[in-house]
C-alpha cells in the first residue's frame, strides 16, 4: 500500500539514509527497528511529509506521490504520532481530540460546543477509552496524554498510522489500551508502522519487521521467522550479550537504609535497604511512587515522615547539594527536561554539579573545566567532538552518558538511576549496563528504576517492587520472573 524505495537523504555532514526502503501492507503491523541514528525517524518523517527525500520514490497504492508538508500527507491518510507530545495542557480532552476540525456553526465561525463534546464522547466510547472528555489535559498523566494523542490520530480513520515509540511513557493499563487500539485498526485495514526499542512488544504485535542500520536497509521479514538474538544482531551488526547477571549479592555493608518514609499520596511508608556494591532494581507500575521515592533520597523533596540512614549515619538531606556532599546522586528519568541543559556545551553540563570542587575561592578556570570534562567523556565513551559540543546536538544515548558523567564525576557512594536507558539504542544500552556493573564492582551502591522488567532481571542483583507507594516485596534477580514481579507490582494489600 505504502512503499518507500531507494530513499537517500543527507543532512550537512551526515548521510542519514542511503538507499533505504520500506513497504507497508494494508492491515499489518510493521515494526521498524534500528539503533538511534539508524535513520528510522528520518525515514518516517519523509513518509509523513516533514522532509523531502534527496532521491527515491514514495508510492501510495502504486502511484508515485510527493508530500510538500505534513498536511498533504494527512490528506492522503498518513497520520503520525511522534514521541514529542503535542497535547495542549490548557485545553480539555475533547478540544484536544478534535483540534483543527472542531464542529462549527455558521460556516465555521462559531464553535459548536454541544457537538464538540458529543463527538469526543463518541470517539472515546468507540475506542473504549475510559476518559472524561471535559477533563483538562494538563491534569492527565503523561501516559494518558499519549493515549489522547493516539486517539486523535485514530479518530481520523487513517490509512497509514506511524507510531514513534508509543509506549515509552505508558503504564501497563494504557499499554493494553494501545494494543487493543492497534488490533482494531488492523482489522479495519489500516497499515501501522511501529517504531520501538522494546523487543517484547515487537514480537507480541508485529506481523513483519524491518531493520535499518546506518541508513541502509538490513532486513525485512515475517516476525515469525525472527527471534531476539537475530534482531539484535541485525541492528547492532554484532552479538550483544543478553546474559542475565549472575547475582551473588554482597550484602556486607548497608549503604542506604530507609524506614517508614512517607510523602503525600505517592510514598506511603517505604522500607528499603540498599547495600554497598549491589545493583538494586526498583520495579513497579506507573504511579507506584518510585521516582517520588528517589527524589526523597536525593534531597529534592522532603519527606513527611520516616527516616533514612546513610552508612549508619542519620541522613536527612535539606537540598540536592547536601545529598551530593553526603555522596548521593540522582540521574533523572526526564533527560532533556531535568537531566542535561541542552543548549549548553558538554563540558559545562558535566562540570555543573562539580563547579565548587573545580574552583578556587569561587573562581573557575575554563581550561581546567575542559580537562575535567574531557577526562569524564573518555571514561564514559561520550561520542562528541569535544567538551565544547552542544549537548542538544548529540544522540539520546550520548546525552544520557553526559547525564551519567555529570553525576559520576561527583564520586557518589550511592547513585540513583531513574530509567537510565529510556530512548537509548541497543548499543549504548549495553555500554550503560557495563558501566553500572563496573560501578557496583567498585563498591558503589546503585539503585536502578526501570519499567522494563527484562532490563532489571538482566542488570540487577536484587529487584524490589513498589506498589501504591510501598515496597511490596523484593527478590534476588536470579529467582525473579516477570510473573512474580508483576504479581508484586499489582499488590493491592493495604499493609500497615
Amino acid at each position: 500500500m505504502l512503499e518507500l524505495s531507494n530513499i537517500t537523504k543527507s543532512f550537512p555532514g551526515v548521510r542519514a539514509l542511503d538507499g533505504a526502503r520500506f513497504d507497508l501492507r494494508a492491515g499489518e503491523v510493521h515494526a521498524f527497528m534500528g539503533e538511534n541514528g539508524a535513520g528510522k525517524s528520518t525515514m518516517m518523517k519523509i513518509a509523513a511529509g516533514l522532509f523531502a527525500p534527496d532521491t527515491g520514490t514514495i508510492r501510495l497504492d502504486g502511484v508515485p506521490v510527493s508530500f510538500a508538508n505534513p498536511s498533504e500527507a494527512k490528506a492522503a491518510g498518513i497520520h503520525t504520532v511522534f514521541q514529542e507530545l503535542t497535547v495542549l495542557e490548557n485545553l480539555d480532552v475533547a478540544q484536544n481530540l478534535l483540534i483543527g476540525r472542531e464542529p462549527a456553526l455558521f460556516g465555521g465561525a462559531w464553535l459548536d460546543r454541544v457537538a464538540l463534546y458529543d463527538e469526543a464522547a463518541k470517539i472515546l466510547r468507540e475506542l473504549r477509552i475510559p476518559m472524561d472528555p471535559r477533563r483538562m489535559a494538563g491534569r492527565l498523566s503523561t501516559g494518558q496524554r499519549q493515549i489522547v494523542e493516539i486517539a486523535r490520530a485514530v479518530a481520523q480513520n487513517p490509512r497509514v498510522l506511524i507510531l514513534d515509540e508509543p509506549t515509552s511513557s505508558l503504564g501497563r493499563h494504557e499499554e493494553e489500551l494501545l494494543f487493543s487500539l492497534v488490533a482494531r485498526l488492523k482489522t479495519a485495514g489500516t497499515g501501522i508502522v511501529y517504531i520501538t526499542h522494546r523487543m517484547s512488544e515487537v514480537f507480541a504485535l508485529a506481523d513483519r519487521i524491518t531493520v535499518l542500520r546506518d541508513g541502509r536497509h538490513i532486513l525485512t521479514d515475517d516476525a515469525a521467522n525472527l527471534d531476539r538474538p537475530a534482531l539484535i544482531r541485525a541492528m547492532v551488526g554484532r552479538d550483544v550479550s543478553e546474559a542475565r547477571h549472575e547475582g551473588e549479592s554482597r550484602r556486607a555493608e548497608v549503604a542506604l537504609e530507609v524506614r517508614g518514609l512517607e510523602r503525600g499520596a505517592d510514598v506511603r511508608g517505604v522500607d528499603l535497604t540498599l547495600y554497598r556494591g549491589e545493583v538494586l532494581g526498583l520495579a513497579g507500575l506507573m504511579g507506584a511512587g518510585r521516582t517520588e521515592l528517589a527524589r526523597l533520597m536525593a534531597g529534592i523533596d522532603r519527606p513527611d515522615a520516616g527516616e533514612m540512614m546513610l552508612f549508619g549515619q542519620p541522613y536527612a538531606p535539606a537540598s540536592v547539594r547536601a545529598a551530593m556532599l553526603a555522596g548521593v546522586a540522582y540521574v533523572s528519568e526526564d533527560r532533556k527536561g531535568l537531566g542535561v541543559v541542552l543548549p549548553l556545551p558538554v563540558g559545562q553540563n558535566i562540570a555543573l554539579p562539580s563547579l565548587a570542587r573545580l574552583s578556587r575561592s569561587g573562581w573557575v578556570s575554563p581550561a581546567r573545566l575542559r580537562d575535567f570534562a574531557r577526562d569524564w567523556m573518555g571514561r564514559l565513551g561520550v561520542r562528541a567532538t569535544g567538551p565544547d559540543t552542544v549537548v542538544g546536538t548529540l544522540s539520546g544515548g550520548n546525552q544520557q552518558k553526559v547525564a551519567l558523567a555529570k553525576w559520576l564525576s561527583t564520586a557518589p557512594r550511592v547513585i540513583l538511576l531513574d530509567e537510565p536507558t529510556r530512548g537509548v539504542d541497543v548499543g549504548a544500552k549495553a555500554e550503560i549496563y557495563t558501566l553500572i556493573r563496573a560501578l557496583a564492582a567498585e563498591g558503589t551502591a546503585v539503585l536502578v528504576i526501570s519499567s522494563e522488567l527484562p532490563e532489571l532481571m538482566q542488570l540487577c542483583d536484587r529487584i524490589a517492587v513498589m506498589a501504591q507507594g510501598r515496597v511490596s516485596g523484593d527478590l534476588p534477580a536470579v529467582e525473579a520472573s516477570e510473573t512474580a514481579l508483576l504479581e508484586l507490582a499489582f499488590d493491592e494489600s493495604e499493609a500497615a
Binding site: 550537512p12 537540598s319 578556570s365
Partner: protein, 326 residues
C-alpha cells in the same frame, strides 16, 4: 511542549544559519554603519569633543546594560531601572543638600540601590512572580517617590568635588566615567565567565529545573543578580546626577528601553540562557551613537523612538529565527 517536531529541511536550516550570522554581526556591523552614516551626515559628529561627550553621556546606559545582560541571561527582565536611576539620583542630591559629604552619600545610594534590586529579586523569586510585573510595580513606586522627594522640581548639586570626580576629572588622560564603565565591564565579564556563580547562571537561564537538580542554589543566584543590577543602577545614578548637575525626577526617560535594546542587539535570548556582556557593550555603543547622532541631525524625539523600536524588533526576530522557533 513543542507544536511540531523540529523541521530541519535544508532551506529552513539555511535561513536559520543566515539569521544566526546576521544576529551575531548586528552589533558590530550596525555600529560601523551608524558611525559611517553620521560621520558623513553631520560635520559635528567626527571630532574628539563629540566623542568624549558621547562616551561620558553613555556611561549610565553602559552600566545599566551590563546588569540587564545578567538579568536577561536568567530569562528575567528589569523594567524599573530607568525610574530607579532617577530616584537614586534624587536621593543622592538630597543627601548632599542635607549636608552629608559626597562619599557617604554615594555609599548610602549604593546600599539603597542594592536594597531595591534585592527587593525586586526577593519578590520575583520567593513570590514566584514574573519579573516584568515585579519591576513594573517597582518602576511606578520609584517614579512616584522621586517626585515626592523633590516636589517635582530638580535640585542642583553644589558639591564641586563630586561633580569633578564623576564627570570632569581625568585619570591617566581618560575621563573618570570611562574608567568606571571599563571596570564594571571587566568585573561583569569575569563574573559570568570565570566564577562558579557565572557558570551556573548560564545553566540556570537555559533550564532552571535541570540546574536546580544539579545542586545549583537557584534562588540565591537569582536574587544575587538582581542585587548586582541594583548596585550598577546606583553607580549609574551617581554618573547621571553628575552629568546633569542635578537630581531630576524625570531625568532619564528612555534608559530602560535603551538598556534592553543594547542587550537584545547583542544577540541575547529573551528566553534566557544566552547573553554576552561583550556584545551588549557593542549594542550599547550602537544605541549611544544613534542617540548622539540623531540629536546632532535634529531628528525629533518621536522619530528617535520609532527608529530604536524598529532596531529592537529586528534584533528579536533575528534571534528567534536563528534559535529555530525554540
Amino acid at each position: 511542549m513543542t507544536a511540531l517536531p523540529p523541521t530541519t529541511s535544508p532551506a529552513m536550516a539555511r535561513i536559520r544559519r543566515g539569521a544566526a550570522l546576521l544576529r551575531d554581526l548586528l552589533p558590530y556591523a550596525g555600529l560601523f554603519l551608524v558611525v559611517a552614516y553620521f560621520a558623513f551626515a553631520s560635520e559635528f559628529f567626527l571630532n574628539t569633543r563629540n566623542f568624549e561627550r558621547l562616551i561620558t553621556d553613555s556611561a549610565t546606559l553602559m552600566l545599566v546594560a551590563f546588569g540587564m545582560t545578567m538579568v536577561i541571561l536568567l530569562g528575567e527582565i528589569d523594567l524599573s531601572v530607568g525610574a530607579v536611576v532617577a530616584l537614586l539620583s534624587v536621593i543622592l542630591v538630597q543627601l548632599m543638600a542635607a549636608g552629608l559629604g559626597w562619599p557617604l552619600a554615594v555609599i548610602l545610594v549604593l546600599l539603597i540601590g542594592m536594597g531595591i534590586g534585592g527587593l525586586n529579586g526577593v519578590i520575583t523569586v520567593i513570590g514566584d512572580i514574573p519579573s516584568f510585573i515585579t519591576t513594573l510595580g517597582m518602576m511606578a513606586v520609584a517614579t512616584g517617590l522621586a517626585y515626592v522627594f523633590t516636589g517635582s522640581v530638580s535640585v542642583a548639586i553644589m558639591d564641586d568635588q563630586f561633580l569633578d570626580l564623576f564627570y570632569d576629572d581625568r585619570f591617566l588622560g581618560l575621563p573618570v566615567p570611562l574608567w568606571i564603565v571599563g571596570l564594571a565591564f571587566l568585573a561583569s565579564v569575569l563574573y559570568l565567565n570565570r566564577t562558579v556563580a557565572g557558570f551556573e547562571l548560564f545553566a540556570l537561564g537555559a533550564n532552571p529545573a535541570a540546574a536546580a537538580l544539579s545542586g545549583v542554589p537557584v534562588k540565591r543566584r537569582k536574587i544575587t543578580v538582581f542585587v548586582i543590577m541594583g548596585a550598577l543602577v546606583a553607580i549609574a545614578a551617581c554618573l547621571s546626577a553628575a552629568r546633569l548637575g542635578s537630581g531630576a525626577p524625570g531625568s532619564v526617560p528612555a534608559l530602560t528601553l535603551d538598556a534592553i535594546a543594547a542587550v537584545i542587539i547583542g544577540g541575547a535570548s529573551l528566553f534566557g540562557g544566552r547573553a554576552f556582556v561583550g556584545r551588549t557593550l557593542m549594542g550599547a555603543a550602537l544605541i549611544a551613537v544613534l542617540n548622539n547622532g540623531m540629536v546632532l541631525l535634529n531628528v525629533n524625539i518621536d522619530a528617535q523612538y520609532i527608529i530604536k523600536g524598529l532596531i529592537i524588533l529586528l534584533a528579536v526576530v533575528l534571534e528567534r529565527v536563528a534559535a529555530g522557533g525554540r
